[in-house]
């Protein structure tokens, strides 16, 4: 086991996994909230755009999105952030993970919106808040509290889905696992254990934090 850590950049690879998770989580939270706002808005066109987004990206395999971000965006269309190919792939992996998980964030938030009684929105409108103010001040804060458990599920899925980034050569842990397995098939069991343990270390606190937060922030009615 010590030999593995000495020979391969295991911690750096997990670092990349965390980096992808971190930035894609922020991106998906922002984009997913925007799409959720479209879906709950009173404007039918916005609702349709939001629904189209969710149905396209939720129903597309993540591998396809990640590979498309590389082949279509970089190779075919020439959209590059940087000359450094490795870094460019990381950027595109974050974008691919973001657009995919934003669909799930949107739907989690929408399930949270459904936990908010209609009277809350009526009261917000009755004191003269605009639609945007009602959303920001009254609906979304309560919706997020009601959506913490599904949002936590999405975050855990995101952490594990970062392994797909290996398809475009991002140096995260599952890519390293493949290399290690090819080099040292004799150590296959320790390799699998280390990778599995690493993911447990990353995702377990997410689950615990989710449970704690949903209890703590629950809106009492």
């Amino acid at each position: 086991m010590g030999e593995l850590f000495a020979t391969y950049p295991i911690l750096a690879a997990f670092g990349m996994t965390l980096l992808l998770t971190f930035f894609a989580a922020i991106g998906a939270a922002v984009l997913g909230t925007l799409v959720a706002v479209l879906r709950v808005s009173p404007v039918p066109l916005f609702q349709k755009v939001g629904a189209l987004y969710v149905n396209v990206f939720r129903n597309t395999p993540l591998t396809l999105i990640i590979i498309a971000s590389n082949i279509v965006m970089i190779v075919n269309l020439g959209f590059s952030f940087t000359e450094d190919i490795a870094r460019d792939n990381v950027y595109w992996a974050i974008i691919g993970l973001t657009v995919y998980h934003a669909a799930f964030v949107c739907e989690s938030l929408r399930s949270g919106v459904n936990t908010v009684p209609v009277g809350q929105a009526e009261a917000a409108r009755s004191i003269g808040l605009t639609f945007g103010q009602s959303l920001v001040q009254v609906l979304l804060p309560q919706a997020v509290r009601g959506a913490i458990t599904p949002l936590g599920n999405t975050l855990i899925a995101l952490a594990k889905n970062t392994t797909v980034a290996t398809a475009i050569g991002v140096a995260e842990i599952s890519g390293l696992q493949k290399t290690m397995t090819e080099d040292r098939i004799d150590l296959i069991l320790p390799i699998i254990l280390v990778v599995a343990a690493g993911f447990v270390v990353i995702t377990l606190p997410m689950g615990l934090a989710t449970s704690w937060l949903s209890g703590r922030l629950a809106v009492k009615r």
Binding site: A123, S126, Q142
Partner: protein, 271 residues
């Protein structure tokens, strides 16, 4: 009647009778509802409603359930849309949507049957949200005014708590304070005591009677006949989506003109 629990106002200096003039003609109109029709599918829930409420007037809307009285109350600030007719607040036509409607709603206070306090905000925050976000007051100014209002309705000592920690009667009084904080031109009450335990009804009615005496224009949908007698200038009786009759409370309760009103009063006053 003057020993009613909510009657803590001093006796009027003028001789007991006659009551102050209830004539609408002498008041400038605050709410003008003209020819309003509303449908739920095939159901004609508001049928050609005409109602003018004068400045400072207190109108109680009575009627059996399903008569359209709550719907009428909710159309006045367009929480319910309507198909035809017009509603004006203080001479201004009710806008259909957008910022203009939000601005107008800020001038129309609304108190709901189910209180609808913002569940994730403290009592104080509930009262200051509108003044800060809509009226653009400073937080200090809004806090000061909110504390005054919470004192006026008797829940100032609860200001740091959350709505779920208060009793129904306290929550409803906070809801009244939240509306008053916007300095509304008119207050709508949609069955404000119907969700309350009996012993909490009076504490809310107290606040409403005091508000009526302070000169607030009020439209109150309620089943509280005592409140109608004490505080209303006019009772409007609705049935099947129509205004059947309107009269001063004493006249309405003692000499209802329509059969439907007689039938309704017979059912609720007999026990």
């Amino acid at each position: 009647m003057s020993d009613a629990p909510w009657d803590h106002s001093p006796a009027p200096a003028t001789p007991p009778s006659p009551a102050p003039s209830h004539s609408v003609v002498t008041r400038a109109p605050m709410v003008e509802i003209v020819g309003v029709d509303k449908y739920y599918g095939d159901l004609h829930v508001l049928q050609d409603i005409d109602l003018t409420v004068g400045k400072g007037e207190v109108v109680v809307v009575l009627g059996p359930s399903g008569s359209g009285k709550s719907t009428l109350c909710r159309t006045i600030n367009r929480l319910e849309t309507f198909e035809s007719g017009s509603i004006r607040i203080d001479g201004q036509e009710l806008p259909e949507e957008g910022k203009a409607l939000a601005q107008l709603r800020a001038d129309v206070g609304m108190v709901f049957q189910s209180f609808n306090l913002f569940a994730h905000k403290t009592i104080l925050e509930n009262v200051t949200l509108g003044p800060i976000r809509v009226r653009k007051r400073s937080k200090a100014e809004a806090d000061k005014r909110a504390t005054e209002l919470l004192e006026r309705v008797g829940v100032a000592h609860q200001s740091e708590k959350y709505p779920a920690q208060l009793s129904g009667g306290q929550q409803q009084r906070v809801a009244i304070a939240r509306s008053l904080a916007m300095d509304p031109k008119v207050m709508l009450f949609d069955e404000p005591t119907s969700a309350l335990d009996p012993e909490m009804i009076n504490e809310v009615l107290d606040v409403m009677v005091e508000l009526a005496r302070s000169g607030m224009t009020m439209i109150v949908v309620t089943h509280e006949m005592g409140f109608a007698r004490r505080a209303a200038d006019r009772v409007v009786f609705m049935s099947d989506g129509q205004i059947v009759e309107a009269a001063e409370p004493e006249v309405f309760f003692t000499h209802p003109r329509s059969e439907r009103a007689k039938d309704f009063l017979g059912k609720i006053l007999s026990h």
